[in-house]
Amino acid sequence: MILPIAAGSSSDVGGRLVAERMGTALGRPIIIENVPGADGSIGVDRVARARPDGYTIEFGSLTANVLNGAFYSLSYDLLGDLTPISPVAAAPYVLYAKASLPAKDLKELIAWLRGKSQQGVCGRHRGHLPHADGTLSERNRDPVHPCPLSRLSPGNAGLGRGSHRFFV
């Protein structure tokens, strides 16, 4: 199973858990290979070119298997070169804010953004649901300043699990 992401992210851990349980169902273990890079398009390319015997599969995602079509000139056909097996899980998003923001709920947040003389700063991952924060900007006639961040690094997974507070 190709995971087109770096080891240690939450999707990586999720893919490994599913692979382990699938291995039990199939009666043989599934070997994981992380093929990160170019937001997953290198790993998807490997799967698209693999021998079609069922021994190479991909734990894909909205980012790797759809959104990359908007960011890259791909060497494969996103729809034509990959055969669907099954959806696995939805990954909804949460709007997090620093605790010191005065707004108590979303309506107050929007009012706060509209009333502010300066822009609010919204962290943004490229290829990472640009839809949502973009829409928020639009609705508020752009009082939101996007702050580009690097893609999730394995250290973030540790942050998420609470195993460490900060990483460099």
Partner: protein
């Protein structure tokens, strides 16, 4: 997320895997993009509840094979995914990672094909809307 905790940025869209951070007191959550509230954050409303239904939007994970894999092999792999996802222990561990397993009736190759095509259409529509918004 560390920039948010330190107050260098004001807010951030991230998956539910970061929810345990809200217990630290440095970070709070305003709303979730799922259709229903998350089990891990029962006090955080959905965007729909707050009057913004256009924010019902999630990333997803899915299983793919190369093209031209025979249908009987796809069916066998699909059956293995279905069996794995029926495991309550696995579902609960995935939920902790912010991954909400789709219901059994969605766990088909046809459903994934429809899902990725719908996502492609949405992407093109968003791109056109964003391009039109640039003066």
């Amino acid at each position: 997320m560390q920039d948010l905790a330190a107050g260098r940025i004001d807010f951030l869209f991230e998956t539910a895997v970061q929810l345990p951070f809200t217990r630290s007191g440095n970070i709070k959550s305003y709303a979730v993009t799922s259709d229903a509230r998350l089990m891990q954050a029962p006090d955080t409303p959905t965007f729909s509840e707050m009057g913004l239904p256009s924010f019902s939007y999630s990333g997803w994970t899915a299983m793919f094979a190369p093209k031209n894999v025979p249908k009987e092999i796809i069916d066998k792999l699909n059956a293995a995914v279905v069996e794995a996802l029926a495991d309550q222990g696995l579902r609960s561990r995935l939920a902790d990672l912010g991954l909400e397993v789709y219901p059994r009736e969605r766990q088909t190759p046809e459903a994934l094909n429809a899902q990725r095509k719908a996502a492609c259409r949405q992407m093109v529509a968003d791109h056109q809307r964003a391009s039109a918004a640039i003066p």
